[in-house]
């Protein structure tokens, strides 16, 4: 039994085939025993597929809580020491007590977790025939149904936290200062080019990296991942043959704003099969992003009337979902996107052979239901930086 990235698969060994045939038995006790044995060993492979296959929910760090305990995240320990006035270095004479940074524990973030369950019914005659692929396809279907809900929900959190982030932590401070937002616009409307990658990186550097009197030393304080539409990925590929400079030189000559990227850069893009990284940033293609696509609409609704910086940094304008799309940059090294999942009796994913009245002997069907309980949150909106183009 093994798994691939996107679906559940079984090895065709005599033992596996025998187990599947036993699941299809008309002897209820034998059938249930085999089904329960399968359920016991399948939870881990299914969970692995669930954690590997998706795009956006993969960006969330999984934290677990035990069944029967509150689903909360204590925020205090995660406050960055670089937050202004958080840390004080002091010195004193030897006698006396020491001061400390005290964790108040007052900011307990409540996360609403919810069950995501699916159930399937399989025909026993297919199992009696030893059809391992049939079993694997049904297991994959459980996975896909869970994944669908996970992707939709995690995307909602991602695309809502982005326009609601405020660099100075003051939610009201946007009306006259769009630079307090973590969303910028491209140099040229409808075009994504190297200059825009630069804009994202500079913008993010000015979002979290600096605090009064210091510069990051140890960890990476930069965008690690970019999420965008297939069209956006197309514009990345287009860097191989489109002009990339955005300003003329001191002496205006013909073609002054039509200079291509360096040969070696273009060659690298030509030769790259899928262009997974650029400027050491991982690129992710998300089919639901792009003009007219669902996540663009989610972002547009979340942004509402918030005015972002205009093209080339001039003026400001609201997001126009009919002609614009969002590219999302994430710092996955930062504690931000969290998936809080319940760890129950059967682990994080519960797969159970269903013995209900739907699956009696006469129906000649076998059922499994499975799922998990989890919730998604963003605990630091400033770990992202978006760009509208």
């Amino acid at each position: 039994m093994n798994k691939r990235k996107f679906k559940v698969e079984f090895k065709r060994t005599p033992e596996q085939i025998a187990l599947v045939k036993q699941m299809g038995s008309k002897n209820k006790l034998q059938s249930m025993a085999a089904a329960e044995a399968l359920a016991a060993v399948m939870t881990r492979p299914i969970l692995q597929v669930i954690e590997q296959a998706p795009v956006i929910s993969n960006m969330f760090t999984t934290q677990t809580f035990d069944e029967g305990t509150p689903a909360t995240i204590p925020l205090d320990p995660y406050f960055d020491v670089r937050n202004r006035n958080f840390i004080n270095v002091w010195q004193q004479s030897q006698p006396g007590g020491t001061a400390m940074n005290f964790v108040q524990g007052a900011t307990d973030l409540v996360v609403q977790t919810y069950p995501i369950y699916s159930e399937i019914a399989m025909n026993k005659n297919q199992l009696r025939a030893g059809r391992l692929d049939y079993l694997a396809a049904n297991m994959t279907r459980i996975v896909q149904e869970v994944l669908l809900v996970q992707e939709t929900n995690s995307a909602f959190v991602l695309f809502n936290s982005l326009p609601n982030a405020r660099i100075d932590g003051n939610f009201a401070n946007v009306s006259t200062n769009p630079n307090n937002l973590t969303v910028a616009r491209s140099n040229t409307a409808g075009v994504f080019q190297i200059d825009d990658l630069n804009t994202i990186q500079i913008g993010y550097d000015r979002t979290t990296a600096s605090w009064v009197g210091g510069t990051p030393v140890n960890d990476r304080r930069s965008i690690t991942d970019l999420l965008g539409s297939p069209e956006w990925m197309g514009q990345i590929r287009a860097m191989a043959y489109q002009p990339q400079n955005t300003r003329n030189g001191a002496t205006v000559t013909q073609g002054a704003s039509s200079i291509a990227a360096p040969e070696s850069f273009r060659e690298a893009i030509f030769n790259a099969a899928s262009i997974p990284t650029i400027f050491d940033i991982n690129l992710h293609k998300v089919y639901e992003m792009g003009v007219g696509r669902p996540y663009n609409t989610v972002f547009a609704t979340a942004a509402g009337t918030t005015a972002f910086v205009g093209n080339n940094g001039v003026g400001s304008a609201t997001f126009n979902s009919a002609s614009e799309q969002i590219v999302v940059g994430l710092n996955s090294d930062m504690f931000d996107l969290v998936r809080l999942r319940m760890n129950g009796e059967n682990g994080e994913f519960a797969l159970v052979a269903d013995d209900s009245q739907n699956f009696n002997i006469r129906s000649d069907k076998l059922g499994f239901f499975g799922g998990l309980q989890e919730g998604y949150v963003s605990v630091e909106g400033r770990a992202k930086y978006g760009l509208v183009f």
């Binding site: 029967g68 689903a71 925020l75 409540v110 929900n153 609601n164 739907n358 949150v377 605990v379 909106g381």
Partner: protein
């Protein structure tokens, strides 16, 4: 959950689990034992799994996004004009924001709220479509009597009215100046009103 304050269904009941629907959330809050009808709009089956709202679960912090989860497929308390066809059944759990101790349910373990008969607002509430339940008299208008018809009350609020079918004229049930038709009958009462807990009765629900 206290049977005195948070519950309108008594322990005695008999039904098959297959008659319990887990598709809908209750609009707003409400004690169990409430007759509910389908709220039109947002009944796309694809929405059953639920989705996030933009309201914070509890305390709200800038740069932190943790919002409420919600099943958009809703039912509402049955009201005048409803029929047995848009009525779905009787809620088996109490939909609430706070428990009997005044603690917010969203801050408690999910399974802990369920096992006490609570459902957080916006979450799917189990609804019984057919079977026998024991309802407190708060759920019933009129005096329950064995063999009386149970109809959707014109008083709204998901109440059930006990009507003597002897007064039926061509399928029309007459009571208190109102006329009920056969398509508003949701079941029958099997008992008198018990004396404890302010009165209760057994209802055979047939939807």
């Amino acid at each position: 959950m206290s049977y005195l304050t948070d519950n309108n269904t008594m322990p005695f009941r008999q039904y098959a689990e297959a008659e319990v629907l887990n598709f809908f959330a209750l609009q707003g809050t409400g004690l169990n034992g409430q007759l509910v009808s389908i709220l039109t709009g947002s009944q796309d089956p694809a929405l059953s799994a639920g989705q996030y709202l933009t309201t914070a679960v509890a305390a709200s912090y800038t740069n932190v996004w943790s919002t409420r989860y919600n099943n958009p497929r809703r039912v509402r308390p049955s009201q005048a004009g409803d029929t047995r066809y848009n009525a779905v059944g009787i809620t088996l759990h109490t939909t609430a924001v706070y428990d009997e101790n005044g603690n917010i349910l969203a801050n408690q373990p999910y399974d802990r709220t369920l096992e006490r008969g609570f459902v957080q607002t916006g979450f799917t509430v189990p609804i019984l479509a057919r079977g026998i339940v024991t309802l407190k008299n708060q759920c019933v208008i009129g005096t329950p009597f064995p063999g009386y018809a149970a109809v959707i009350s014109t008083g709204g609020n998901g109440l059930i009215e006990a009507i003597n079918p002897a007064g039926a004229v061509q399928g029309q049930l007459l009571t208190g100046g109102y006329t009920y038709s056969g398509n508003q009958v949701i079941g029958k009462f099997l008992s008198y009103s018990g004396s404890a807990f302010g009165g209760y009765s057994q209802l055979k629900l047939e939807l």
